[in-house]
Symmetry: D2
Subunit: 262 residues, 4 copies
């Protein structure tokens, strides 16, 4: 298995710095270990080693996690620790139709697209056209744009989609989209929201309770890297301890007749 012209590759230096680039003729990557002529990698095997002036480099297949961490951005990205959990809780997979409100830089959009491809679809809305433009560039670079519709809308304005399998909200006032979610989420389906402050989580949870949602759960996910050295292993000293809280909920059928049981 060899690298193809134009393929996305992850260059990894042995000091753990990484670069997500395209293997294209006449293109070069400048690193602090030296320059790499990217065209010369075409036709050569994945996993190859490169000897550079400053040390070794490796050519790896990028994963969706690498892509998420390398989106070009103006906004905070959603982190893999949160995305991975959301995908499971939302039950997103091949064929799912997912609504995202708050495209941002498109990091979460890319992960959703990767999960629903090739037969599903992501409908992603943002209030700012410049966010959508940047997300489009990121998705195009990752080869995932074909699974995504990017659209502009104001907060609270309705969406065109109906009966979507799951909804993700990544906006400061998620309660302003409860009406939207009620109109387009399949009954019994799941919703998730990402918000940095306690206050947003508290307010959104309360509004969801009053609006026909159940299984409302909130949490934060903390990743603690280990520094692994033979005979001297310890938790990392400085970490990113907080990004956003996650809130997940399930949508009850608004038209459901209640059934009396034992």
């Amino acid at each position: 298995m060899v690298v193809q012209e134009g393929e996305l590759i992850l260059i990894c230096l042995d000091d753990e710095s990484t670069y997500l680039v395209r293997a294209e003729t006449n293109r070069r990557l400048e690193t602090h270990y030296g320059v790499i002529e990217l065209g010369q990698l075409v036709g050569r095997p994945w996993g190859m080693r490169l000897k550079l002036r400053g040390g070794e480099a490796y050519v790896l297949r990028p994963t969706i996690e690498d892509m998420v961490m390398k989106v070009e951005r103006r906004t905070n990205i959603v982190y893999p620790k949160d995305i991975g959990y959301l995908l499971l809780v939302l039950g997103v997979h091949c064929g799912s139709r997912v609504l995202e409100i708050g495209t941002g830089s498109g990091a979460l959009t890319a992960a959703l697209a990767f999960a629903v491809a090739p037969t599903g679809r992501v409908y992603s809305y943002d209030v700012r056209q410049e966010h959508l433009d940047q997300a489009r560039r990121n998705l195009e670079r990752f080869g995932l744009l074909q699974y995504v519709d990017l659209k502009c809308k104001a907060i609270g304005q309705p969406v065109e989609e109906e009966q979507v399998d799951a909804v993700v909200l990544d906006i400061p006032t998620p309660w302003d989209e409860i009406g939207t979610v009620r109109r387009c989420l399949v009954a019994g389906g799941r919703l998730a929201s990402l918000n940095p402050t306690f206050n947003q989580i508290e307010q959104f949870a309360e509004r969801l309770r009053q609006s026909g949602f159940t299984l409302i759960k909130a949490m934060e996910i903390v990743v603690r890297p280990l520094v692994v050295r033979p005979g001297a292993t310890r938790p990392a000293q400085q970490i990113i301890a907080h990004t956003e809280f996650l809130l997940t909920a399930a949508f009850l059928n608004p038209e459901s007749v209640e059934v009396n049981r034992g």
Copy 2:
């Protein structure tokens, strides 16, 4: 959209206890809120409410996270917080071919199967036939068995598969399978291991470094639930703070000629 005969459903009481059951005629679920005749749910809408003696219950579409948390088990399960992250780091998705060594109760196997379906495949090995039997029952219940091969093998014994896209190890001595991984993982592909002690992580990381792997990273993922009450929101008091450490690595091409660059 209504519940079909035989479909898997999640019954959720309003005290947040949940039951994963099948909507089958002549089957009943006993809960501390009262009895639910499951056959009577067939043909009725998803997301419906049930009035029980003890309170309300709701009928939700189960997600893969619900399934993972409800596997029948003799062993510790792998938790959603870890599974979600692993799926991203391994880049597992529709069509992937994944090797798992250490089937256990099949919780991770189920999540892998859900992610690679319908066109991919999970090859899952365990040393104990009784683990495989239990995993088979869990996968069958979730409708995911068709995407999985379950096989018995001793630790260190080779596997039949070649050129798999990703490998997950969930065994106490992952270093005993480095040879296996080298033979069957695609060059430039990713490996992950789950282990509870720092000693295992330290030993495995060192052995991987000596065996042609790079981007070796170890971490733990901690979920901190929030208790959300209007005007009185706080982190949960008692939590599960540690399950397993995660180790991830990328496999270098063992036959790669080194290329000299700048």
Copy 3:
């Protein structure tokens, strides 16, 4: 150094269960390892081993941490992780005069008394006489009552003390005591509050900012025990992750003329 009649001792079984008792003639301690005649320990050396039917027991000198963890209580105690930090931030030591509002079971009161003894004093107020009674019994048992004044007062009612060196609040509505603090805390001195919800911390911080306090800091302190086994060391699985948030602040001089400088 031998155990004296009537001295407080910590009996520690080799399974890590502990008992805080008095070495008194004709008194016996029943444990799941067997019965210990406490009078027979008098005149024998500290650190001695006892062979019981169920295993070994040890006779240790109790520390203030042992006492704090063994208070008899109806309320939540303040934990050593929080107490230790508070003592440092408040600068409490031998000779300090400290005001505590919210005596509770007296765990924190005991630690404060231990820190200010023998020349300082703790003035501790509670709204409920039964709390004060229980705190009195705990302090008496630990030999610390002589350093403490226990008094009953309603929230917001003034205290008799003036110019105390530090103030600790352990009540649900600490903002109701800002006036009290302003009247009795020495200018430039420190205040600390313990509260379980972020809402309380947010409200109190805001009120302090408006009331002439500075250096307002809030945090939580999490203790993660390690399970240490040769070759198999890992973080503890289940932990108490949250007890209370801590808020600390410094009191500015309400009468201070501002000085103009560069």
Copy 4:
């Protein structure tokens, strides 16, 4: 209460930067808010406000926590979160005689001295004279040198003290001092060690178990600051998540005759 000539003061700008300085005539402090003539603060009230070009500054009484965070240092300091807990577990207070091995910059030494003053004593040893010199300067600055003996010794070499009430080890190979601890710690007394890696904790715990110690506990203490804003409160994003693990243990009487009981 006014600031005296030569007294240690904490200058705190309203952006939360702090300076620990002496109020001395003809001395000035340069800050990014402007210059403060320190001599002009003498005779003026504690807690006073200063109007500077860049904003407000406040004159506070420094606590021992402020001193610990402001030691001049070449080594890592021990953090207040750990110190506070250690003081409680060791039961250190007014009058205690404490042995410290591993003086470092003297941060922990200062906190110990503050806790045992005025009638107790800290005996602090280090292998490097330059550490002792720096600790001496820090202790002198804080007015705590009179309670401390600073001495140089090689690891494993005996100490002069006997029957000390508690021992703290802050060295990379604490197991090399087990003999020292056994000779000088009072029977039934407490020991604590600070070490950054799992491996050190595991090795030391095992050696202590074999050497007549009990109640061996290890943990890490994590401080998570809150960012408190009205309506927008959240945990801090970047934190120091790991400094050192703590290990605490109790020393059994090496000469104790075992007593047979029920």
